[in-house]
């Protein structure tokens, strides 16, 4: 028993291996937030007038919320007050603003991504995955652009989309997550500096996985990226994001917004492997991950599927959601959230059924270890017009040790009597008997815990693209700390 516990502790003593800092010259704005800063950010990006206007409206809205002390406090997480005037809202690697090719990217940054295991050089292509790399506030490289362009797929940084496809940006920006949506969405709309943009035209299946890799490098900065994905009629796309940050004692704020739009018969699969720096064993440092992600199944027979593996961040606050407007549209949410040491997560989804015969599936797997606190919060709402709607929710918690917590807050609102709702929930503990059983068959304690956890998460992992499923499994075993009781 003690040996089991020790082995698992050893496994956890492994460092956060993505915690290094890249030495690079930064172009950053002064700390603090005001209209002047918004104007500076917008002008640094040479944005058209409509963008500046939108940012300013968002800023004013956010400022009114801040004044009214309207930062959301309902989540089941605890943290000290955030001083929004003590954050740098824009930091970019100092180099020429537009990059023609990978050769122009600062070699230090390319080395950073190599070190993270994300080779950007196209010849080292990762089995047909196109990557957009976001370093601090800006996108530094997007691979495979030409190949995608042949199919008419636009995959570029948000800045480039604003410059080259302003009509699309104007039409869809804020159409799913308006700047008035919530405190952090307003903040993001005001200061977001970059992110990824995807447009898949009618009838096109995107020929490869699209991926964005987010890296926070600079100190005292926040990262506010914005992603917008539009799948036109009969289009389909699979998109994956990954993220890491250096080890720092201060908390850093990450407030992103993701908007997805699926038109008739379109489908979007959005996968996240979130591995921001989680803080140390005493709970010092780490990223505050306050993110608004929402997809709109606007067209009939459209489908949006979220898969997330959340292992990092000191605090996670995110609810990737689906608005099921189109008749027969489908929303899915598959989630693994792991909290260890003093990490806290309040995560789940919202499935809003508006159209007829819409269906949604929610599978949430929460793993708590150490002093980690893990909360599932989910809303399934069936509106009056949503005749024939269906939802299946499964919500499982796994506890490792006896100092952690698992909490579940499912909300169900049904306004149409034809709805069919299913909800299942379970809580279990990794048992000494399970570990002994596997060790008796020759597996080490470490391998045994890892196998039990992978089994627990299987329903979610099988939704991930193959190579990322393997990554996610490794990440989980590395992120584990605590003892088995």
């Amino acid at each position: 028993m003690t040996t089991n516990a020790e082995t698992i502790r050893d496994l956890a003593e492994r460092e956060y291996k993505w915690g290094f800092v890249t030495e690079i010259e930064e172009d950053r704005v002064p700390k603090g937030l005001n209209e002047e800063i918004i104007r500076v950010i917008s002008s640094k990006k040479a944005e058209p007038e409509f963008m500046l206007e939108w940012r300013l409206k968002a800023y004013r809205h956010w400022a009114s919320l801040e004044k009214a002390d309207a930062e959301p406090k309902w989540a089941n997480v605890k943290y000290g007050p955030i001083d929004y005037q003590d954050i740098v809202y824009y930091s970019a690697p100092k180099r020429k603003p537009t990059l023609k090719s990978l050769e122009e990217v600062d070699p230090e940054i390319l080395r950073t991504y190599d070190k993270l295991g994300i080779p950007l050089a196209e010849q080292q292509r990762l089995a047909g995955v196109a990557i957009d790399a976001v370093f601090d506030s800006v996108s530094v490289a997007t691979t495979f652009k030409e190949k995608l362009a042949e199919k008419g797929v636009i995959f570029c940084s948000f800045s480039e989309a604003v410059e080259r496809h302003p009509q699309l940006v104007k039409q869809y920006l804020g159409s799913v997550v308006p700047y008035t949506d919530n405190f952090f969405a307003a903040l993001n709309a005001a200061v977001f500096s970059d992110g990824s943009f995807v447009y898949v035209p009618k009838g096109v299946r995107c020929p490869m996985e699209l991926s964005t890799y987010f890296r926070i490098n600079a100190a005292e900065t926040g990262q506010f990226e914005r992603t917008l994905i539009i799948a036109d009629e009969r289009a389909s796309v699979s998109y994956l994001e990954g993220c890491t940050a250096p080890i720092r004692d201060e908390n850093q704020l990450h407030a992103a917004v993701v908007e997805l739009v699926a038109l008739d018969n379109a489908s979007i699969k959005y996968s996240t492997v979130q591995n921001w720096y989680p803080g140390d064993k005493q709970g010092r440092g780490g990223i505050y991950n306050f993110v608004t992600k929402r997809g709109k199944c606007q067209g009939k027979h459209s489908k949006i599927s979220w898969t997330q593996v959340e292992t990092g961040s000191a605090i996670t606050w995110k609810y990737p959601s689906c608005i099921l407007m189109g008749d027969n549209s489908v929303g899915e949410f598959y989630s693994v959230a792991l909290t260890n040491n003093y990490q806290q997560a309040d995560t789940g989804t919202k499935m809003i059924h508006l159209g007829k015969n819409t269906s949604s599936t929610v599978v949430s797997k929460g793993i708590s270890a150490g002093h980690g606190q893990n909360t599932y919060r989910g809303l399934v709402r069936i509106q009056k017009a949503a005749t024939g709607a269906r939802n299946y929710t499964q919500c499982d918690s796994l506890l490792i040790g006896d100092k952690c917590g698992a909490h579940t807050f499912p909300y169900i609102e049904v306004k149409n009597a034809s709805a069919r709702m299913e909800h299942e929930a379970s809580t279990s503990k990794i048992g000494e008997d399970q570990i002994f059983y596997l060790r008796q068959r020759g597996l080490s304690a470490e391998e045994a815990v890892s196998m039990i956890i992978n089994g627990f998460c299987r329903q979610v992992f099988r939704e991930l693209p193959m190579e990322f499923a393997v990554e996610a499994q490794k990440l989980l075993s590395i992120s584990l700390e605590g003892s088995v009781g």
Binding site: D433, Q434, Q440, G442, N454
Partner: protein
């Protein structure tokens, strides 16, 4: 040649002495049965040999092929060839039997410096084992023991034993809770595994199992000590006279 040698083994659990000086030697290729009343320490003995850490060893030694078994971790003992069929096999949700078995086999192969088997080599090997044991191939893709009936779980233990090909197989009350048909299947599996290279230790409460797997030696464990040893006929005598008979004999011997 002696495979397992237990000398004066004492073991505690939560401060209570359960094993009070067990001596036993098992030669390569032999089948031994340990019988005894409830609470006599049979399962404790099995679990100590499998290196479960809930037991504290207070005295004595155990040698496996000359190596100190009591210094091994459970996975080391497993890789050295100790296999225990559990009385209550554990469920591992979400992990298929096939995946689990390959991981287990490869862990032991790795320990022994052998090459690991990939899925393509492993599957035919596993299917052959299952055919021998009359196990349905559907078991391959089901999660380990999840939703299995009692009989299926026990048969699954025997499949694992067949795959891992242990040098010492310990069956901890494998017959408990089995109907007669399941018992026959399990016994046939064990008999298939019987060989000159393998020793088997059958732990059982009832003589019934020994009708199907005939041991070379029978030992009676009472209150943490082996009080009587003999051939298969000892099991029959026990069945007839009950454990109190050996207890009475022990008292007489001690007096």
């Amino acid at each position: 040649m002696t495979l397992l040698e237990i000398r004066n083994l004492h073991a505690n659990v939560n401060g209570h002495e359960i094993l009070k000086g067990v001596d036993l030697a098992i030669k390569v290729g032999e089948v031994h049965s340990i019988m005894g009343p409830n609470g006599s320490g049979k399962s404790t003995l099995a679990q100590v040999l499998a290196r479960r850490e809930t037991y504290e060893i207070t005295d004595g030694e155990v040698l496996l092929n000359g190596k100190n078994l009591l210094e091994m971790k459970p996975e080391e003992a497993a890789s050295e060839g100790v296999f225990m069929a559990f009385q209550y096999p554990v469920e591992i949700p979400g992990i298929s039997n096939a995946y689990f078995l390959r991981a287990a086999l490869n862990a032991t192969r790795k320990y022994r410096g052998q090459e690991e088997l990939d899925a393509i080599d492993f599957l035919p090997f596993l299917k052959e084992k299952m055919r021998l044991l009359d196990m349905d191939e559907r078991f391959l893709n089901r999660a380990v023991n999840e939703g299995f009936s009692g009989g299926e779980k026990k048969r699954n233990e025997i499949v694992q034993m067949a795959v891992l090909e242990p040098r010492l197989a310990i069956l901890d009350e494998t017959d408990s809770g089995l109907d007669i048909d399941a018992l026959r299947v399990v016994a046939r599996g064990v008999n298939t595994m019987r060989s000159q290279e393998r020793s088997i230790l059958l732990i059982t409460h009832y003589q019934r199992l020994l009708n199907y797997i005939v041991p070379d030696y029978v030992h009676v464990l009472v209150d943490g000590r082996i009080v009587k040893s003999g051939g298969p006929e000892l099991a029959l005598a026990l069945e007839e006279k009950g454990y109190s008979w050996t207890e009475a004999e022990t008292i007489r011997a001690a007096g």
